[in-house]
């Protein structure tokens, strides 16, 4: 009796969760389906989930005649550069805050906490003026510099917590052997922090890969567009060509899904650190 009730309740669990996940996933299935439809079959009544005459034409058109190969390259260059640069400067900053005592340390830390809490869009007007003054408009470098800065507060916060927990004894051993603090940082702190660095790298990469508003604002030159801006602009110009829009969108979100599914454990760790105290 008891055994039977248990299995029934499990069945109910699976039924509820599956219904819910259908709501989460159906929009994506519709998007994938539309990406494989030619224009004639887009938005027909009744809607069909399996395309009647599936075609790869949308992907070919997006990639070749609509320059999405170029936008993909721009996005990749910006996201990779941002990740490397932001990781380097955030790790150094976090290490400085975690392992040293110096005048002004608390001020720096609280300033970083403050910028974590303000809406990033609040800075866009002065950032736009600054980019004009420094000649950073219409350049991918301008995107990389601003993205790097935008990711510093959270990255520093997460890495500082990790560095603080590294054992001090190893550090003293290197100092006695005549090594300097920079040796400790590169030879010991960084290799020991690979999981934390991976978490921070994933978050930074995705943030840079998906960023829209600053890229839209800073860049007018169509050849310098990143994928999110290119997709939104394309949809604005070709209102009904949903097959093409979604083919391009799939190209943009596929790397993200792959990164997430393969590196899930770093992801979850980063998300929940700070939120849950065990």
């Amino acid at each position: 009796m008891r055994h039977r009730r248990f299995r029934l309740s499990h069945l109910l669990l699976y039924a509820l969760l599956t219904t819910g996940s259908l709501v989460m996933v159906t929009p994506f299935l519709d998007m994938i389906s539309t990406a494989f439809k030619s224009q004639t079959y887009v938005l027909e009544v009744p809607p069909t989930l399996i395309p009647r005459e599936p075609t790869l034409q949308n992907f070919v058109d997006a990639w070749q005649s609509n320059h999405f190969a170029l936008f993909f390259r721009n996005s990749l260059v910006v996201a990779v550069s941002t990740t490397v640069l932001s990781l380097l400067v955030s790790a150094m900053l976090a290490y400085g805050l975690a392992r040293f005592e110096f005048p002004g340390k608390n001020l720096v830390f609280y300033a970083i906490l403050l910028t974590m809490m303000i809406p990033s869009l609040m800075l866009i007007i002065p950032q736009f003026m600054l980019a004009k003054t420094l000649g950073l408009r219409n350049s991918l470098t301008g995107l990389v510099l601003v993205y790097t800065a935008m990711n510093i507060p959270l990255n520093t916060f997460l890495l500082r917590g990790f560095f603080e927990e590294l054992p001090r004894e190893l550090e003293e051993a290197v100092l006695i052997d005549g090594g300097g603090h920079f040796t400790i940082f590169t030879r010991m702190a960084l290799p020991l922090s690979t999981p934390a660095l991976a978490t921070v790298a994933i978050f930074t990469f995705l943030a840079a890969w998906d960023e829209f508003t600053w890229a839209l604002t800073a860049i007018d030159d169509a050849t310098k567009r990143t994928l999110p801006v290119a997709i939104a602009t394309f949809q604005g110009e070709h209102l009904t060509q949903w097959g093409l829009v979604f083919a391009a969108s799939l190209v943009a979100i596929l790397p993200v899904i792959i990164v997430f599914v393969t590196l899930q454990r770093y992801f979850v760790k980063g998300l929940t650190s700070g939120a849950v105290r065990g």
């Binding site: 969760l17 970083i112 736009f128």
Partner: protein, 296 residues
Amino acid sequence: MPHARRFSATPYLFILPGMLFFLVFLLYPLVEAFRISLYDWKIMPGAVSTFVGLDNYLRAFKDDVFWIALRNTVLYTVVTVPAQMVLAMLVAVLVDALPSGKVLYRTLYYIPVITSWVVVSLLFRYLFDPSEAGLINYFLMHSLHLIAQPIPWLREPGPAMVAIITLGVWKGIGWSMIIFLAALQTIPADLHEASQIDGAGPVQRFFSITLPLMRPTVVFVLIMLVIGGFNVFLSVYLMTGGNPLHRTETILTYMYNQAFNFLEFGYGAALSYLLAIIIFVISFVQIKFLRRPIEV
């Protein structure tokens, strides 16, 4: 001690590169935004910006669209935050109770969170197409028989807000769910067993044991979601652009439109500072009243 404390440049060398980025691209813009908000700011070369004091802030209070934007922003937050939290908690509790397949379900609910706002906003424009062929209209008309005529979703303010809010909830559930799930897994199993022996049912156990133990996590999620709700921007910008006639404007879309479409940079900067003040006050109140210093 072998050597006395002396000034060392080492820590400053470590923080220097990061601080340069931080000061130039974050802290300076933060201060500069406030300065711009005090001016009738002109961006054209040669044009003179005039100091107007707090006029840009006073202008907001007399601006009907500002009040519409504030109302929409509050509406979005008040609806999406509880909806996300309740649904996310339900999913988290159910996933936690699964005998197997936890990672699969967690992933399915999390996919919208990792998908870019740009893509999902365009996707929801497509799903909420005003014609009968739009998936939502078709479903409401022919599967549920709730409506006889297609709803012109994004062309009218009320339905447009419904679509925007639906997207916000749909995209956000997974984030809260993953954090709730992590917190659920830290609750010791023997606590549950003990109360099971006392004869408490699953619902009673959830409200008397699980929820109180998760209080710090719930408060954290609440604070973060409220901040996120007030920051709603991209979905609105891409789905309606604040239209028709500014009726779906939120504070940040209105700020962005004022600055970059009408070149009203002073007014835009003032709007962004008003939003920051609102968020700061609300977060402060929540932290003060909801966070207990010591949790059991």
